[in-house]
């Protein structure tokens, strides 16, 4: 039988606010346990939550970026369950009236565009962490993370393969960083994913029973976990079994999912509106204000790069994959006045390779846009060749000097003096009469040999176009 997979994702993005969603404590990652937890985060008797307006602003920015309905009236609710790292015995979340309603995100898989529906996005607080090592049979609780603002983004079950799921997740990851509302750091848990996966016979309308895979924290694992789960479900059904609705945990070491709890064991969270917090009212003025501040979004930027700069789809895609990279490109373009494709090629080629090798982000690039532009100016005006350009690039990477200083210092200026080139060409022809013979008898390939010899002799500084032209004339005799 042919099977179809149905996938929906719930993505928890940690909002990049300075302080927590309901208290003034800092949200910075990696501090000593319990040093960033105030009375409110500890759930002391008598304390009350106060909503961080910055978290609201970020949620609205997100909603606008996915063209979603922004609820004029949304409500925080208490989700009740007991866990040692949940200080109040309930999590403040949103249930019936989330701040962001229906929206959508377009993904691209193998050149085909597909629209994925976003059901909703709601604000909530994160829990703390239980630590099980080094406590001699006891557990430690670290409440630094408790109260960190999260935006939980729930998709429609619109994805049909693990590949699509990953594309959606990447697109969302790109978007939240673009918007500056999440640092996207997956190792630190700033961007986490739960996947709802089910299979159904191709052509069947009704959904199959789904399993939820919890806490998958990398793009690679999402794909593996989903594919593994699809396989498990198909095998199970084909061998006469039945998928049960349950929560499963992905084990990246063993590359398998295993049951965490079944639907029957699931908590009744007893949601009800939190009486400590007022409803969140979003006015049209506020929305208009946010809209005006909204940065150019990745899709629009990519299209503009293609239209205005005549970049191909791939280059435009890479350059707009992060706001910082796109900004870098535009800065180089503006500073150098060079041909956009030249700028794009150097950034997606040499620079990206060097950054990857060094494990650096564009924002940490040792060569800033001004210095790279200085190099491209000299390539454009034929002061140096592209090949010499790579040598200059190396030097730029190692030092803080400008391209012009490096070219002058290392004497890399391209030679366009035809007399100097002619002398060298004459010498090479005289030294290689055998090859001249071959060329003249129709072996065109030998031409490359002569170009190489001339360039070698001139340490690559000769203008290649001039060399070609003169060589051709001389060789023809």
């Amino acid at each position: 039988m042919e099977w179809e997979t149905v996938i929906g994702l719930e993505i928890h993005t940690q909002l990049a606010t300075q302080s927590k969603i309901f208290s003034g404590a800092a949200t910075a990652y990696g501090a000593e346990p319990n040093t960033q937890a105030c009375a409110v985060d500890l759930g002391l008797p008598g304390v009350l939550p106060v909503l961080n307006q910055e978290a609201v602003r970020m949620a609205v920015i997100f909603g606008m970026a996915i063209e979603a309905h922004i609820a004029p009236y949304s409500v925080f609710a208490r989700k009740n369950y007991f866990y040692p790292d949940l200080p109040k015995g309930y999590q403040i979340s949103q249930m019936d009236l989330p701040i962001v309603g229906k929206g959508h995100l377009d993904i691209d898989v193998d050149g085909v565009s597909k629209r994925i529906g976003v059901t909703r996005a709601h604000l909530e607080e994160d829990a703390g962490k239980s630590l099980h090592e080094n406590f001699h049979g006891l557990s430690g609780i670290d409440l630094n993370r408790a109260g960190t603002p999260l935006l939980e983004i729930v998709s429609e079950p619109d994805m049909r393969s693990a590949k699509e799921a990953v594309a959606y997740m990447r697109k969302l990851h790109e978007l939240v960083r673009y918007l500056g509302i999440c640092d996207g750091n997956m190792q630190e848990g700033s961007f986490r994913c739960d996947a709802n996966v089910s299979v159904r016979p191709k052509g069947q309308v009704a959904f199959g029973t789904r399993a939820e895979i919890k806490n998958i924290n990398s793009f690679k694992f999402v794909e593996k976990a989903i594919n593994h789960e699809i396989e498990r479900q198909i095998e199970l059904i084909e061998s006469g079994g039945k998928v049960v609705q349950e929560t499963r945990l992905y084990d990246s070491v063993k590359d398998e999912t295993r049951s965490m709890r079944s639907k029957e064991e699931a908590n009744d969270y007893r949601y009800f509106p939190d009486p400590d917090l007022l409803p969140v009212i979003i006015s049209d003025e506020f929305k208009a204000h946010i809209k005006a501040e909204l940065p150019e979004l990745p899709d629009a930027k990519k299209q503009r790069f293609k239209d205005s700069f005549k970049l191909d789809d791939e280059s435009a895609g890479i350059l707009t994959s992060s706001r910082q990279l796109a900004d870098y490109f535009e800065a180089v373009l503006a500073a150098s006045g060079s041909e956009p494709r030249l700028c794009a090629n150097w950034i997606t080629g040499e620079l990206s390779a060097a950054l990857n090798k060094a494990g650096l982000e564009i924002t940490d690039s040792p060569i800033d846009a001004q210095r790279l532009a200085g190099l491209l100016v000299r390539i454009s005006d034929n002061t140096i060749s592209g090949k010499i350009g790579k040598q200059v690039f190396e030097a730029l990477w190692q030092s803080t000097a400008s391209a012009d200083d490096i070219i002058a210092e290392q004497g890399l200026k391209q030679i366009t003096d035809t007399g100097a080139i002619e002398a060298i060409i004459d010498k090479i022809i005289a030294d290689n009469l055998g090859q001249v013979e071959q060329y003249r008898s129709g072996k065109d390939k030998v031409f490359g040999f002569f170009v190489g010899q001339v360039m070698k002799e001139m340490q690559g500084k000769a203008n290649p176009a001039e060399v070609n032209k003169m060589l051709k004339e001389k060789l023809q005799g």
Binding site: G43, P45, P87, I141, R270
Partner: protein
Amino acid sequence: MHSKSITELAHSLRAGEVTSVELTQAFLNRIKQHQDLNAFITVTEEQALQQAQAADVRLANGTAELLTGIPIAQKDIFCTLGVKTSCGSKMLDNFIAPYNATVVEKLNNAGAVSLGKLNMDEFAMGSSNETSYYGAVKNPWDKTKVPGGSSGGSAAAVAARLAVCATGTDTGGSIRQPAALCGITGLKPTYGRVSRYGMIAYASSLDQGGPMTHSAEDAAIMLQAMAGFDAKDSTSVDVPVPDYSAGLNAPLTGLTIGLPKEFFGEGLDPAIAATLELAIAEYRKLGATVKDISMPNLKLAIPAYYVIAPAECSANLSRFDGVRYGYRCANPVDLTDLYTRSRGEGFGKEVKRRILMGTYALSAGYYDAYYIKAQKVRRLITQDFKNALAEVDVIMGPVTPSTAFGIGEKMANPIEMYLSDIYTIAINLAGVPALSIPVGYAADMPVGLQIIGNYFAEAQLLNIAHQYQQLTAHHQHTPHGFA
């Protein structure tokens, strides 16, 4: 000295007739002398004397406010820095609060001297002060009777002159009912008027702190210090705080008083009804007109309250889990054992009953039938008050269906206990302010009159109460043996 009002004491302190230290010591002595009332859970003698010394300095250097140097006491529901804050529960018997509630902070800043922490029903759940882990409080008017609750310690302490005035909290009548049963003045302000920050939550949408005093005049002074917007409490309301004392002497001519027929029907002790009639007659003399009104949804208040309050409390009390602070059972074998025994052993019977009721009401399949329905009823009741207060200036009625009952009398029958708040609960559901003033006696026990006003009309309520207290002396009576 101990029978004087705040204003009189403020005069004496300024005239040098007495120092705050002397006054404080006198009250500390009275507390010791009347320990059998069980009004205090914690007496902070050392801290009180230090505060009194500081107050004397302020009195001397001219920076004193009206409350500076006045010995008061805090209901043990308010967090007090460095002092045990038990909320009347074994669960918090070992809890030393690491911060001050906003109300405590404000009263401290005003220079009030805190004598200690007052007994109360466990987590403010009770109408007789009998659910306290620290034992029942006795009514100073008759020590075999309850003082009411949950602010029973506050009412008994003020009535017995163990403190000049006290803080209380009112979720369904917990200021007004004990004030009535102990013959003092108690004001529940508009929801949002007084900050709830640091006030241990019972039912967050209903809880409100307020003053418990001898007179309306004292209540105005105390409320002045307690009220105001607090950025730490999202439900506190940012409206200006008026001068509560300024209008106390305004004449009542032209005032329209509404008497809901639902307040005077079956279930009300005829002796109380008769006493209230006399009080209302006084208001007629003061120039008020009286109008019979109807508030048809009042009868739904108790069932709605006993869904909403327990639902909220079931979540509010989840933080008491034995993990971070408070009671923890001995030798837990695992997490479930830690939770179940800590909570099972740490909470009393009434608290557990309400947690269970609330958990049930919020459970899947019951939520719509109970919680949502109760919220609808709450809106109907609120509308009743809005309609009535569009027609009349204030509403008057009884505070309690009977005077103070015997200790132990109603503990076996929770429904009967719940009914003792039948006239006060609806006010919390609507969020309007109301106060209770002593207006006489039925079989030698105090009777309270309830005056209910519109949102943020505390000044008007105090004015109306004060005018009555200018004509009568019930609020100055001291129970036998406490003069």
